[in-house]
Symmetry: D2
Subunit: 136 residues, 4 copies
């Protein structure tokens, strides 16, 4: 589990006066990139190696509104890994209160959008992802 902090920006609010819900999906990406960095899986290096990790699904439950200039901490973890599909979990907190819970599913593909089996090409990364699974 890795904690990432996002400061809500003015441009992320809407006329309801709160952080627009679509921005949590973007914060998930920020937190995921930061999490991947922390386990040695750098997005930009992956892309140079020709591996991309498209998003298969996102799921986001909004519990409490946030707004500018709140600081949101995002706890990010591997909630499942099957060898093909990676599920990342996210818990968003403001002042230790959960404001949002989310998950996203990913696979790994080559530049021509063919599925890449990490086990064959990057066995160490494959093992690492298995070891990181935190069942909640």
């Amino acid at each position: 589990m890795k904690t990432y902090t996002h400061k809500v920006q003015y441009y992320e609010t809407d006329k309801m006066g709160i952080t627009h819900h679509s921005n949590y999906i973007r914060m998930m990406e920020e937190a995921r990139v930061d999490f991947f960095d922390s386990i040695g899986l750098r997005y930009d290096e992956c892309e140079k190696m020709g591996i991309m990790s498209p998003v298969l699904s996102v799921n986001c439950k909004y519990k409490k509104p946030t707004s500018f200039p709140d600081e949101i901490t995002i706890e990010t973890f591997v909630s499942d890994y099957t060898g093909f599909k990676l599920t990342i979990g996210y818990i968003f907190k403001k002042d230790d209160v959960v404001v949002c819970e989310a998950s996203s599913e990913h696979c790994f593909v080559s530049k021509d959008m063919k599925i890449v089996l990490l086990k064959n090409k990057y066995p160490e990364l494959d093992q690492k992802l298995y070891s990181l699974v935190e069942k909640n």
Copy 2:
């Protein structure tokens, strides 16, 4: 069911060359506003009456990538309504092929974020929402 068309903009793409996944959440809002308009429930008039409809959750499954300058049609419908909670479904298509399926949950609140029961305050709207439920 109401169909809405969104033309993918250049600024909605990312360096993978595809529509960034967060933008589907924004297209859902565009399609939802358009759908609500079509059933006589105008967002801006609701807000003037002091009713807001915050998003409780979003759920989005990405099937195929899209990109600039694709035209995406979004079929939007009421998939559930309980009197408290409204669930909207979305089917995104490009050239008649499903590219994304999504849903969002909403409630109705007053300006001070208290739950509004439509049955009491807007019985006609309440009945309309029940009548629109399309079980898929």
Copy 3:
């Protein structure tokens, strides 16, 4: 001159209750793409031919606020062309009142970011751009 219409979306507003100023820069791109389409210069086809048109500068003067669900019309025109540099002008109106005036400068480059002289490679397009200049 070509007129393009943009409907302000809820997600484009901010907590001041108005369209966030950064979104006008995005509307400029929408209007520019639409304008280029109308003169036979399709962004996506240009990119397939290996020509890109990066933005050198933007300049935007905000006259009056707009908000969701305003319809904004954007008049787009070539305000200057030097063979190297293309300047596009934009007049944003809501209900025939000017709400914003803007301009952007562009050049043409190949995929390796080298300047492309349209005169040499696309003389017809070069002539067309000269003919379209509207001095205001």
Copy 4:
């Protein structure tokens, strides 16, 4: 002068592979908020006092492209102040190389969008802004 750092996010890139130009306008806001914080002028507190600072104009010259995951430092300063109008300057650098230069103009208004003269209502803030002007 105050320096702010923005890490370019994946969702800020476009299919040209670079940071979409509209995002610099948003980074200007981030840097401006941070700058205002540093001189004791907190956006959220101003809004609570009923003062807002709408953007009158933005001006942005793009020198070099940036991309994910670049770290951009933004030097922010008061380039002019007239008592009515505040002009903020921004110099964006990546690895000490200027990638973008920008400015924005602002006024101060009350909630009903009437001009607020800082000299009358907030003379200390007015004096501070005069003292901060850095002519480049």
